[in-house]
């Protein structure tokens, strides 16, 4: 992080971006980018429940615990452990939770379950995230690793993130980061056949999608991988005493198994690249001591999905250590190129995919819009205890897309998330 040259005027213009970051001027007085003064231990509980008209779908209970400690004024270590438990049923295709005619559906979860639901009866996930940060006079360097495990899925990743102040006044900061993720998928399809039904049902014409099983192995021993490389560059700029903005650009390239093994006729490309541009602006109001936090993200990927996300939060500190934060989030996406729209008229049959190279009925790949309204209340006790409660209500509608072609056959989708947290600094 130390500069190799202090003569910035003579630096060769046109040098690579990284070289520029390394050749920043450093004043004779050192800069203090110090480790946090206090450590923290935090716990948070999440309850998530979604529903579609007539049915409750997925419910999640999650528990996370985090510990962060500064070490010797120059380092910090941050560890988070998460346990979550998912129950309920995911649709087999579109919103349809049930078996199409001629298909014997076996629950995907190891614990067994209802034969009329397609996917999850009860599924646990455990995840650990760890990171170490080194604080330098002009910036920081963070090395992170994460591991997540489910009965049918494991994910491992390592990441490196650096920040460096570009100016002596610390009003401009550059962020550079990258990560590598390796996932392994091993669906719990059971020995009696998977729900794609290509082994033991007779739905002819639906077999070509299962290229991942061309090796001829039985469904129960099928496994595959997914590898993703991500890069990020960002600039954070102080605009005034009351304004700070940030612009992040990230790009990811992924390859491997992207299909959903628990859905019917789900066969997605083995490559997914995406690019995001994210802009954030925080503004402080002296009159109220409150702040607005506005962010916008544009997302585009090789599946053909374009998405716009806008988030506005207003943080208002109140007497007695209370803080209230209402928020609104607006989202809109277009459909993936290979999304096959629903056809409620032919239920319980799924739309035909004959001749399609790729296909998916997944509602998450359809065009839709979504609105989230949230409120968070936080209270600080005795200076170092923090308790918070947050409620969000999420609504997804195909009608609300502003940049896609809606699928009128999709049902409304709603969810709520409740979070309760407590943390202590020490």
């Amino acid at each position: 992080m130390r500069p190799v040259s202090t003569n910035k005027k003579n630096a060769v213009i046109g040098a690579a971006l990284t070289a520029v970051a390394l050749s920043l001027p450093l004043s004779h007085s050192a800069f203090a980018e110090s480790a946090p003064e206090k450590g923290i231990v935090a716990f948070k509980y999440l309850n998530y429940q979604d529903s579609q008209p007539g049915t409750d779908r997925i419910g999640v209970n999650a528990y996370s615990i985090r510990g962060m400690a500064p070490i010797a004024g120059k380092w910090s270590v941050d560890v988070t452990g998460t346990f979550d438990s998912v129950s309920g049923a995911s649709p087999l295709f579109h919103n349809y939770i049930g078996a199409p005619t001629g298909v014997t559906v076996v629950s995907g979860a190891s614990g067994g379950g209802s034969t009329s639901s397609s996917s999850i009866a009860e599924e646990d996930r455990k995840a650990v995230d760890m990171s170490v940060t080194r604080y330098f006079s002009k910036g920081t360097l963070t090395l992170g690793t994460s591991y997540s495990s489910e009965s049918d899925y494991t994910s491992q990743s390592i990441s490196l993130l650096g920040t460096v102040y570009l100016t002596e006044d610390k009003n401009t900061m550059l962020t550079l980061g990258g990560s590598v993720t390796h996932d392994t998928i091993k669906p719990n399809l059971g020995s009696s056949g998977d729900i794609d039904g290509d082994d033991d049902d007779d739905r002819d014409g639906h077999d070509e999608h299962d290229e991942h099983e061309t090796s001829g192995t039985s469904a129960s021993s099928f496994s595959d991988h997914k590898d993703i490389v991500t890069g990020l560059i960002g600039v954070t700029q102080v605009m005034s005493k009351n304004d700070i903005i940030q612009l992040n650009l990230s790009h990811a390239q992924g390859s491997g198994y992207y299909s959903d093994p628990y859905k019917l006729n789900d066969n997605r490309p083995r490559k997914r690249d995406y690019t995001t541009v994210m802009a954030r602006w925080n503004h402080y109001f002296s009159s109220t001591d409150g702040a607005t936090r506005l962010s916008y993200r544009y997302y585009t990927d090789s599946f053909g999905i374009d998405a716009h996300t806008m988030l506005l939060e207003y943080v208002q500190p109140l007497p007695s250590g209370f803080t209230v934060t209402p928020s609104v989030r607006l989202y809109s996406q277009s459909a993936a190129d290979f999304y096959v729209p629903s056809n409620p008229a032919i239920l319980p049959d799924a739309p035909d995919i004959t001749g399609l190279e790729y296909s998916s009925y997944d509602q998450r790949l359809a065009a839709f819009g979504a609105v989230t309204l949230g409120i968070k209340v936080q209270k600080r006790f005795a200076d170092d205890w923090l308790v918070d409660l947050r409620y969000d209500h999420y609504s997804q509608r195909s009608d609300w897309t502003i940049n896609g072609t809606k699928d009128a056959g999709l049902k409304d989708f709603n969810a709520h998330f409740i979070q309760v947290g407590v943390s202590k600094e020490f």
Binding site: K8, K9, H28, F31, A32, G73, K74, L166, E168
Partner: protein, 170 residues
């Protein structure tokens, strides 16, 4: 694509250069330079740097909202106590826009050294302060002997030895 990318990187580089050019304007107080005098209102009447001539002065710029500043207070108390007899005078200049915030901070973090208020920020500007907290050790001759930015536990020893050598200097 790679050509375009290179062109864009080139553009980004130029933009970065412009940034760095801006940082040139900042003035930093250097070693051996006469420390600018200041006269400010303190917790106990007027505080003037020139009045401390002949002492070694540890001038600290701090703000109520700065975490490391909070940590530095007990240490400055200790230093003032330990080296008072040898001629050390600690002057902590608060730079909060609202001195009321500083007084709240002082109620929680008692100071056994001189505290002055500069809500207009003229003094830190003269001293070329680059971050919170910043400290300047001024020798008996009124010249800056060392400067320091930030405060954390690992730097206490270095700071103390700087104070010691200033006290011992002829």
């Amino acid at each position: 694509m790679s050509l375009i990318r290179r062109k864009i990187l080139h553009g980004a580089t130029v933009a970065l250069m412009l940034f760095m050019g801006n940082s040139n304007d900042l003035f930093a107080l250097e070693k051996g330079v006469k420390a600018p005098d200041f006269q400010l209102t303190g917790t106990q009447g007027s505080v003037r740097l020139a009045d401390a001539a002949g002492s070694v002065v540890y001038v600290d710029f701090w703000a109520s909202w700065c975490g490391p500043c909070r940590q530095s207070f007990p240490w400055m108390n200790e230093m003032q106590e330990k080296y008072r007899a040898k001629g050390l005078k600690v002057i902590a200049v608060n730079v909060d826009a609202k001195s009321e915030d500083a007084r709240k901070f002082l109620a929680q973090n008692p100071a056994k050294f001189t505290v002055a208020f500069d809500s207009k920020g003229a003094t830190p500007a003269h001293y070329g302060v680059k971050g919170m907290p910043s400290s300047f050790i001024i020798g008996r001759d009124g010249k800056v002997m060392s400067t320091h930015l930030g405060f954390n536990a690992s730097e206490k020893e270095k700071l103390e030895s700087d104070i010691k050598s200033a006290l011992e200097a002829k």
